[in-house]
Subunit: 187 residues, 2 copies
DNA sequence: TGTTATATGTACCGATCAGTAAATCTAGGC
DNA sequence: GCCTAGATTTACTGATCGGTACATATAACA
């Protein structure tokens, strides 16, 4: 079991794909930036698409772990966690090198709904929806499913608005909206 | 003044880019799908980037005209128009071949904020924000700028959620949220 | 009839694309 | 010391990329 090299490749590819895009990044660029030979890459992944799918799996794990932990650190109750999601997003948007959501970009570059990369991106969003719906249930909200979907629409909208860069602080705007929605869904 | 051929090219390129993506569409594919020779294309546009910028200008004009007219047709008062935006979005999402927002995709494929394609995409969003803010002012809303930004975050979120396809009817969810936000901003 | 602007087809450019072949190097297990 | 497995470099494939050269065709206008 030598997990090192393969994981190192996926980690480096994630950074390059995020910074440079999927289609715009050639395998030769990955060789140059990761220091791993092309032959080794194709030993681990049969195609570029397989590598991208592995990158998205890693990103899904990293992002959900980070978001859920940050929401818990910032708030005590489930209801407060729903609002704290937007404080966590603001931290993310302010990071240098922020370039939007990797899954939105993936499904934008591979836009056919039947494409494996598109489907796996949609899976990530489904898992987020499941978690937020659970939180809304724990918080005793009325219609937790609908509230979760509304909050996640705010989240996606804030992510793309922050990436477009035409607005000062979309996380703050989304948070203000979220507070009203949560209040209106409280019993 | 012969506007025909050039406009025909831009119109055809718009369809192909929207269906197939920007980077994934080569100039040879545009030749095949438009029936216009490559030499003529490069007479009208010096680079592929110039053609994309012209396509985005056309799309901006088409989309804003369509959205504003549809909002007016569906509602009488400015306040009702704000809500009707989400009914118009639902019509759009239900169209066959819906593939998300062209400007989100453009800024996702050309993600550097200093890139002309990214900047022009942000301009489109700025013009939408200006129009919605005006409507919110005409409707006598409190803090019309903040309400407009919130509604537009809902719009962008619904657009990407509809494209991901993991949710049934994001336009309906966004509309329900918008109704609450407008109500809370009413004097 | 001659001029000019715009269109065309075809063939090409160097660079890059994803992916492969083959020979060599390196390290750990026995 | 030897064997094996994984990693390496180098060179290569055919296809496609954005963009160009060049010679020709068409049609309006003078």
């Amino acid at each position: 079991m030598r997990p090192t090299k393969r994981d190192e490749l996926v980690q480096k590819a994630l950074q390059t794909f995020y910074r440079n895009g999927f289609q715009a990044t050639g395998m030769d660029m990955l060789v140059a930036e990761s220091g791993i030979s092309k032959t080794s890459m194709y030993k681990h992944f049969r195609t570029k698409e397989d590598l991208i799918l592995a990158v998205l799996r890693l990103r899904d794990e990293q992002f959900r772990n980070w978001l859920y932990r940050r929401m818990e650190e910032k708030a005590g109750t489930p209801q407060q966690q729903l609002i704290a999601m937007f404080d966590a997003l603001e931290e993310w948007f302010d990071e240098p090198g922020y370039k939007g959501c990797m899954f939105i970009k993936a499904s934008s570059e591979y836009q056919d709904a039947s494409h494996p990369i598109h489907k796996q991106s949609a899976d990530h969003k489904r898992m987020l929806e499941s978690h937020i719906t659970n939180l809304a249930e724990q918080a005793g909200m009325e219609n937790p499913g609908a509230l979760a979907r509304q909050l996640l629409i705010l989240k996606e909208g804030a992510i793309v608005t922050a990436h477009m860069g035409h607005t000062d602080n979309p996380a703050k705007d989304a948070k203000a909206a979220a507070i009203q929605l949560v209040k209106n869904h409280s019993p």
